[in-house]
């Protein structure tokens, strides 16, 4: 197997190994071979991870247990937590994430993982704190992390959506970009029957989207939802005018949709 990978590289030096990437099954095969002659902490820990990636949770847990008898348990705690989270044993998962944080409190992903676990246990406020802390540990948190956090908070709401909106606004302030975070705010506002607020938020997105015809059409649709039909009609008409002279299939399609909207508004 090793020879095959080396051949794939066209080199005989181990240095060249890094340019090849065997798949998960092949990797497990190799580990299995190694374990026949050399049962080590690291081999079991690595196979546990591969099993986890492949969805073989019980096999992963078994390997982790074996590894933990052969070496330090601390590096395995995060993996343990993830396994118990997938097994829906949230209290156990929380215990492992807590232990891992005592061992390494600078790893953002463990706070995100613990937040998900706390949310499953109904401890929303603590989950929010963990999420916010994970953001502090990162230079530029990905907008997707804010959106995932907002979903998490919103999923555990009673009738409140404001905490999720507040978190998204915090992300907007930190990055200086409205983007997908503002779009998520608009989505939450619409879900909670706040079309007027959603329309106001859409206005904030206008500059970033260059006030283009797609944005204007989106804005007009929100005005329809607020009942401002005359304003909506004007925006649709303006968008339609602005599409003139643009020779592009997506814009042709948009024009057709706008015409349908205008016909309905008559």
């Amino acid at each position: 197997m090793l020879k095959k990978y080396l051949c794939a590289l066209g080199v005989s030096s181990a240095v060249g190994l890094a340019l090849a990437h065997p798949g998960i099954h092949e990797q497990v095969d190799v580990l299995n071979e190694q374990l026949k002659t050399q049962a080590t902490y690291q081999l079991y820990a690595q196979r546990a991870h591969l099993y986890f990636e492949g969805g073989h949770i019980d096999l992963a847990l078994k390997d982790l247990n074996t590894a933990s008898k052969m070496g330090p348990k601390e590096p395995l705690l995060f993996e343990y937590g993830n396994i118990y989270f997938v097994k829906a044993e949230y209290a156990k998962a929380l215990k492992y994430f807590n232990q891992f944080i005592k061992f390494n409190n600078k790893y953002p992903e463990v706070y995100q993982a613990r937040a998900k676990t706390l949310q499953k246990l109904g401890r929303t406020q603590e989950a929010i704190q963990d999420i916010k802390h994970s953001f502090k540990l990162q230079q530029t948190p990905h907008p997707g992390l804010y959106i995932e956090a907002a979903k998490l908070i919103y999923a555990n709401r009673t009738s409140q959506f404001q905490p999720a909106v507040d978190l998204l606004d915090e992300g907007i302030a930190r990055s200086g970009v409205q983007g997908q975070l503002q779009e998520k705010v608009i989505e939450l506002l619409l879900e909670n029957n706040k079309p007027a607020l959603a329309a106001e938020r859409m206005l904030l997105l206008g500059e970033e989207r260059n006030y283009n015809v797609f944005w204007r059409s989106d804005y007009a649709l929100l005005l329809v939802k607020t009942g401002r039909l005359s304003d909506a009609q004007n925006e649709f008409k303006r968008a339609l005018r602005e599409t003139m002279g643009i020779d592009s299939a997506p814009v042709f399609e948009l024009r057709s949709k706008i015409n349908q909207q205008l016909a309905q508004l008559k």
Binding site: L2, A8, S13, Q46, G54, K106, G144
Partner: protein
């Protein structure tokens, strides 16, 4: 959230050493400008241009200089900007208020005159063609082999490896072509794996800043993230080596840019990937695209050309981050469709490839480190089609492959389950039922909504010699959606007029090279160049 192989290594690192967080970053402060340029040209170990737009540019370097000067005459630089120190020991000077499609000269250190080679041209105004009517884009993928040796700084380190000089030869091939052709490049796109073996600063110095030193002073470099930008994990056990003896690059499955480990993981805590410190990619649409809110993916405009760089290495590995990137792409391409003639997308993991070790069909590899190949295909190809993307360029496979002008080969479309090679039907998916796109064959493509060409150009620094770990060897470089290369055998030897048989033909070329794109008002021409600047493949998309 993904679970990461790297976690174990990170944990070991934390156990054995003090835990580290993000690398320290000096906050950007607004640059101050004046009109006094005095002093002498300063030396810098790296000098490059970022975020070049129609009205602004960032001059970035590493060195002691604390200012840069700029002007329209090399002998009389008139605008001085005090630099801002940024992460990774870099300095940045941002010049704004520039004239579109105009030539500028610059110095580093405050000198009133510019060295002869320190000049650039601003982009044409967004939505307008360039003054010379053409935009020339140079694309290199997996070009980072010159940095490979720099990982090992021990006294016993070898002087060369199997790929020494390949990236430079590819660069010279492009230079020879453009010199003979009389037109310089306007920008450089890098398709990921820009600096082997682990994307560290030394790798980048050798593979990018030393290799492309001349180009980087004149045109902006727009990169994307490859798997080898993410450091190493301990892979000793995978190859029967003693634990801790073999650290492998390119195997990270983390979506977290802070999970980078430099080398010998046991001694290093995870930190922010160097790529994000080195490059000043747009976050807020600074060069014309829609603001993405992250440096990991972005877009920009260059006259009538729109370029998008997606992140298939990190963002693509997390469901929510991937969905967020896709939602941004939707907005970005919608905006581009109102002003651009041509749209080009780059990212590292090819949605269609039969390259060695990176088969895009649903195989064991694509369950793990190459899963982005599947996800990018099935979730992003529909968006490319919807908004009229013309060409998608990827790396990862160390060879050249290029598809038909095609559509609807992704999961969920009629008759397609996975979007695999075997599901490709030329009569259904290919323009002209299988036109090659080649001008010489009279099979040029007419720009048609929904059709896209997908090209793999991961041959900028090395070329694979065989099928690697592919289970069916005959499938290597034979993706059904890729155009046959009838004029060359698989190693790039000319077939016509020789005794080579059809059996030597493949749907790809296992030779080093790069891609050159010429975009003008009515035509988008793409050519694959070898190390001597010879054109081995060509296709044309015409608006008329």
């Amino acid at each position: 959230m993904n679970i990461r192989l790297i976690t174990l290594a990170a944990s070991v690192a934390a156990l054995l050493s003090a835990c580290g967080g993000d690398s320290a970053v000096t906050a950007l402060t607004p640059p101050a400008a004046n009109t006094v340029c005095t002093g002498t040209e300063a030396t810098s170990s790296r000098l490059f241009l970022q975020q070049l737009s129609d009205t602004s540019v960032i001059v970035k370097w590493r060195g002691d200089a604390m200012a840069a000067c700029l002007g329209t005459s090399a002998s009389n630089l008139t605008t001085r900007v005090v630099a801002t120190a940024t992460a990774g020991d870099h300095k940045e000077a941002k010049f704004t208020g520039l004239t579109p499609d105009a030539t500028y000269f610059y110095s580093v250190g405050g000198a009133p005159t510019a060295p002869a080679d320190q000049t650039f041209r601003t982009a044409p105004t967004t939505g307008y063609p360039s003054n010379d009517g053409n935009t020339r884009i140079w694309v290199v993928g997996d070009s980072g082999t010159a940095g490979y040796l720099h990982t090992d700084t021990s006294a016993s380190a070898p002087a060369t490896n199997a790929y020494t000089g390949v990236a430079e030869a590819v660069r010279q091939g492009m230079a020879a072509f453009t010199k003979a052709n009389g037109q310089n490049i306007d920008m450089l796109l890098m398709l990921g794996d820009n600096a082997y073996n682990n994307g560290d600063d030394a790798n980048y110095q050798a593979a990018v800043f030393d290799t492309y030193k001349a180009e980087l002073k004149n045109v902006a470099l727009w990169p994307t993230i490859g798997n080898h930008e993410m450091g190493v994990v301990d892979g000793s056990a995978l190859f029967g080596q003693p634990a801790g003896s073999l650290f492998l690059g390119g195997l990270s499955t983390s979506s977290n840019p802070n999970s980078y480990i430099l080398d010998k993981a046991a001694a290093n805590a995870p930190t922010l990937m160097p790529y994000l410190n080195i490059f000043s990619t747009p976050i807020a649409g600074e060069a014309g695209g829609i603001a993405s809110g992250t440096k990991q993916y972005y877009s920009f405009n260059y006259g009538k050309v729109h370029v998008v760089s997606l992140d298939s290495q990190l963002s693509a590995r997390d469901t929510t981050q991937r969905a967020t990137m896709k939602a941004w792409l939707d907005r970005d391409l919608a905006d581009a469709s109102t002003k651009a003639d041509w749209t080009i997308v780059i990212f590292h993991h090819p949605p269609y490839s039969k390259g060695a070790n990176h088969d895009s069909d649903s195989t064991s590899s694509t369950l793990f480190i190459d899963k982005p190949q599947i996800d990018m295909r099935n979730e992003f190809v529909p968006v490319f089609q919807k908004y009229g993307v013309d060409v998608v360029l990827n790396g990862h496979s160390h060879s050249y492959e290029r598809s038909y002008y095609m559509k609807d080969l992704y999961a969920g479309t009629t008759g397609v389950v996975n979007g695999d090679s075997k599901e490709f039907v030329a009569a259904t998916h290919a323009y002209g039922k299988g036109y090659s796109g080649r001008s010489a064959a009279g099979e040029e493509y007419k720009k048609t909504p929904g059709y896209v060409v997908y090209s793999v150009a991961g041959n900028g620094g090395k070329a694979d010699h065989d099928a690697g770990s592919m289970r069916v060897v005959t499938e290597w470089l034979n993706h059904a959606a890729h155009v046959l290369q009838p004029f060359w055998d698989w190693v790039g030897a000319q077939v016509m007029g020789s005794s080579k048989s059809g059996a030597d033909h493949k749907r790809g070329l296992a030779i080093p090279g790069s891609v050159l794109i010429d975009a003008n008002k009515d035509r988008l021409e793409v050519q694959m160049l070898n190390q001597t600047g010879q054109v081995l493949d060509q296709f044309l998309i015409s608006k008329k």
